[in-house]
């Protein structure tokens, strides 16, 4: 663990993911334009903004699920080399996505196989990278269900029998089982009630720090951003209008729009 930590610290000064001048047009409409950002190892970056501000488009571009109209995204591979993701072949890109990356979606039904048991869902990535020992796959799946607080006796139930919060936790386990270095999250707490949200955020926060994950999280909920992220970018009309340390942006917003956003949060 210590060797692992020092390893990570040593590479902390080099960014993991770099976006330069990223843009996406949907016909004549603009999804997002001229976005440049860097994500460092072990860092949580929140992308906030109102609906339609281009957050999800940006996440799609960063994770190569969408093809960029302009600009490029580079990623530092495990060998330390920064490579342009558009230059990767489909095989390499898919391998990257199912080993070194994770993607937690807002609707768990999009990120899970709903007709496959919880154990199968967690084990899928392991089998995809060549695990062929049932006992070991099951052991690893049980371990991961425990880490996301799902009882071990639910391992053979399929996600349709799970509550919304459990499904979301299962989705997280499924993504983290291959020990990725970068995880994209699209409104992971959306649609959950507040107490479940709080538990989920707590879980994400501890897993992120424990595993030293880098996370790009899209959210419209500033409280989520405050709790999880180190840095944040504020988007409006497809552009990044403000970036900075989370506390700094939320406590002392510079842009009028950010001030409006921060002041719109209801205090309980």
């Amino acid at each position: 663990m210590n060797a692992h930590m020092s390893d990570r610290l040593a590479s902390d000064d080099a960014p993991l993911l770099v976006a330069e001048g990223l843009g996406k047009n949907y016909g004549t409409r603009i999804g997002c334009r001229d976005v440049s950002l860097e994500v460092f190892p072990g860092e949580v970056l929140a992308v906030v903004g109102e609906s339609g501000s281009g957050k999800s488009t940006l996440l799609g571009l960063l994770s190569t699920e969408l093809a960029a109209s302009a600009g490029r995204v580079s990623y530092r591979m495990r060998d330390g080399e920064l490579r342009d993701l558009a230059g990767l072949g489909p095989a390499e890109r898919r391998l990257l996505m199912r080993t070194d990356w994770g993607f937690v979606r807002q609707n768990p039904a999009d990120g899970l196989r709903m007709a496959v048991s919880a154990g199968g869902n967690v084990g899928e990535r392991l089998m995809a990278v060549g695990w062929r020992h049932y006992g070991k796959i099951r052991e690893e799946a049980t371990d991961w269900l425990g880490r996301v607080e799902i009882a071990a006796d639910r391992i053979d139930d399929d996600p349709r029998a799970f509550s919304g919060g459990m499904r979301q936790r299962l989705q997280i386990a499924r993504n983290l089982v291959t020990k990725p270095r970068l995880v994209f999250m699209d409104e992971p707490t959306g649609g959950l009630d507040v107490s479940v949200q709080a538990r989920l955020l707590d879980l994400i926060r501890s897993l992120v720090s424990e595993m030293g994950l880098a996370v790009v999280i899209v959210t419209h909920d500033l409280a989520v951003a405050r709790l999880l992220s180190h840095r944040m970018v504020v988007m409006r009309h497809g552009r990044v209008i403000e970036t900075g340390l989370t506390d700094q942006v939320l406590d002392d917003p510079r842009e009028p729009y950010t001030q409006l956003l921060v002041s719109s949060v209801l205090a309980a």
Binding site: G120, R125, M127, H133
Partner: protein
């Protein structure tokens, strides 16, 4: 009646251009073992699900000197087998047989004959659903991508689910195989009992799916490995009793219900194999005594 001209077909029903097209697909399929080659399947004078794909493949490889055998679930005398045998007798005039050893082309539905095949034989399978990943990944665009990149983790998810639910791999037919170390293939709904016979088989194996318009192949002497887990290795079905008619063991048996009081017998599903053994004097517990056989 004499004024009516007799309807005549081209040899083996299909026109020569169609046969050329199918042969090209077959050659490509042989060149890339286990890969599903699309082809322009024709309407055949039989419904989908009755072997339109197999019939087209047979028609394309059939010559006037060939001897054809057709089996359905191992039997030569069931509806599907009789209909297709009759079809080729009428449209190609080829000799037909029920003896596995005498046939040069064997069209089959759901079984591989018990008698070992030879280099001089072609086995043609009727395939309902050629895509092994179909029920795991419904998008055809995605399954093609998975085949192209040899991403077959999903196939093991299915086997994992089997073990999780039943304690063992409960898939008993259409058991997925890896051909020549590359493509994962659906061997058509043969019992997994027959899977080991596909491995290193001297005969050419061709698969035709008419509705889905796909042809694939296993060339002679190609490795065919059934997928499994290290701690749950592939196993074939075992039968507690020998065949009730010919006393054969180590063959695939069909259950036959005899009455409504739980009476049943297990007999060879390969009728030709069973008849041969009975002629050689083997007698199972429910067979008629020698000399009285029907």
């Amino acid at each position: 009646m004499s004024a009516m001209p007799e309807i005549s077909y081209n040899f083996a029903y299909l026109d020569e251009q169609t046969k050329r097209m199918i042969r090209r697909a077959i050659l490509k399929a042989i060149a890339i073992p286990g890969y599903q080659v699309p082809f322009a399947a024709r309407e055949m004078p039989m419904p989908y699900g009755w072997g339109t794909g197999g019939v087209q493949v047979t028609a394309a490889v059939l010559g006037p000197d060939d001897v054809l055998k057709v089996i359905d679930q191992g039997a030569d005398d069931t509806t599907n087998a009789v209909a297709i045998r009759g079809f080729f007798e009428k449209t190609a005039g080829v000799a037909t047989t029920t003896a596995t050893t005498e046939a040069s082309i064997i069209q089959t539905r759901h079984r591989i004959p018990e008698t070992a095949l030879t280099e001089n034989q072609i086995l043609v399978y009727q395939v309902p659903i050629p895509e092994p990943l179909r029920f795991l990944e419904p998008r055809e665009t995605e399954t093609r991508q998975l085949h192209a990149l040899a991403e077959y983790g999903l196939m093991h998810v299915k086997l994992y689910e089997d073990i999780a639910r039943h304690g063992h791999i409960a898939t008993t037919y259409a058991y997925p195989v890896e051909v020549a170390g590359r493509y994962v293939m659906d061997p058509s709904p043969i019992p997994k009992f027959d899977n080991p016979k596909m491995d290193d088989c001297p005969a050419l194996q061709l698969f035709g799916a008419g509705r889905e318009k796909r042809i694939y192949a296993i060339p002679p002497y190609t490795s065919v490995r059934s997928l499994d887990f290290e701690d749950h290795p592939f196993k074939v079905q075992r039968f507690a009793k020998p065949c009730a008619l010919c006393a054969a063991t180590g063959v695939y048996l069909d259950e036959v219900i005899l009455d409504d009081r739980g009476g049943r017998m297990f007999v060879c599903s390969d009728t030709d194999f069973c008849n041969d053994r009975q002629e050689q004097g083997h007698r199972g517990e429910m067979a008629a005594p020698a000399g009285e056989a029907a």
